[in-house]
Symmetry: C2
């Protein structure tokens, strides 16, 4: 999506250690009008899939998911990150290995808010190794719900997490910007 690629080139900041910061419009300051335009694109892509719920993960996924959900007119459920390993029988749960933070955490979703009647669109800001997306898909599976697909703002395609999940899980993943390569010196090349 050219609108997004241009914005990433203009406002994204690349740091050593394979870090792309889009804090000025996605992750810390949120340009709600712009993100809503991305939501319109996700709606165009998934409008015929019977989506009745959007699932994301706290914290930075929440705002994006809400702005996307307005186009679909469906509720958002966000998975909570949990430090405790006590798993309540009232929740679905899965583990995420965080590349950014170098640790593993649990995510939980209350069974009240997801069930086998749901057709779920998973929304997240970044897809790199795909660990968060894999965990969210597991939660959907535990609920017996159908994951119609995922909508990602920025996919680091060179890390192959997305293609692995497309193949392994047969999951439809639509990423609005796919990065082919990225470095502090060379900048960003999109796919």
């Amino acid at each position: 999506m050219k609108l997004l690629e241009d914005r990433i080139l203009r406002d994204g900041k690349i740091y050593e250690g394979d870090v792309l910061k889009v804090d000025s419009f996605v992750n810390h300051k949120i340009d709600v009008g712009f993100i809503s335009e991305l939501g319109r694109e996700f709606y165009r892509l998934y409008k015929d899939c019977g989506v009745n719920k959007i699932l994301t993960i706290e914290a930075s996924g929440i705002g994006i998911a809400c702005l996307v959900a307005m186009h679909f007119d469906v509720p958002v459920v966000f998975a909570k990150k949990s430090k405790s390993s006590n798993v309540s029988p009232d929740v679905y749960t899965s583990k995420v290995e965080s590349y950014t933070h170098g640790k593993t955490y649990d995510i939980i979703v209350s069974k009240e808010h997801l069930d086998s009647n749901d057709r779920v669109l998973i929304i997240d800001d970044f897809l790199a190794k795909g660990n968060a997306l894999r965990a969210l898909k597991e939660v959907v599976d535990q609920a017996g719900a159908c994951a119609v697909g995922a909508g990602i703002i920025i996919e680091k395609a060179y890390q192959s997490g997305g293609d692995k999940l497309r193949k392994e899980l047969g999951l439809r993943i639509e990423s609005l910007a796919k990065i082919a390569s990225m470095s502090v010196e060379g900048g960003i090349e999109f796919c």
Copy 2:
């Protein structure tokens, strides 16, 4: 706001320990159309105040703030919760004593995203003792920005945190539902 009071009475759950859960439309599952209606009300209340930025705190404030911000057509900045006590010179920071979690944490906002030209509306889901709101106001003050007011979904008025902040800080606080009393046996009385 009657629409909200009715919804709280219908879907809110009261637990021992002064806990009101509104997980089914505000805090875990988010009814985006409904929250957007609350956003319309905040817009009506603050539309003449020159608001150019909305400030909230992760995680559950983010979705609400984004849905409110769409009415104002301004960006959202969310304060991040930080466990480290290393304060970077690039951030504003303040401390929040959490009643719910029984501990103190730091909140941080990058200096890039808030400055003395900003007229800030602070948005949050709950106001009880007022500690999060006080910390967000401190961050606004550190930036030399103007806090035009706060928009709260549910104020536990019987805890007096809101009135204390109104008096002490001279801050305009508009709460869409103000709870006068609450108990498992007696239910909820609004102000």
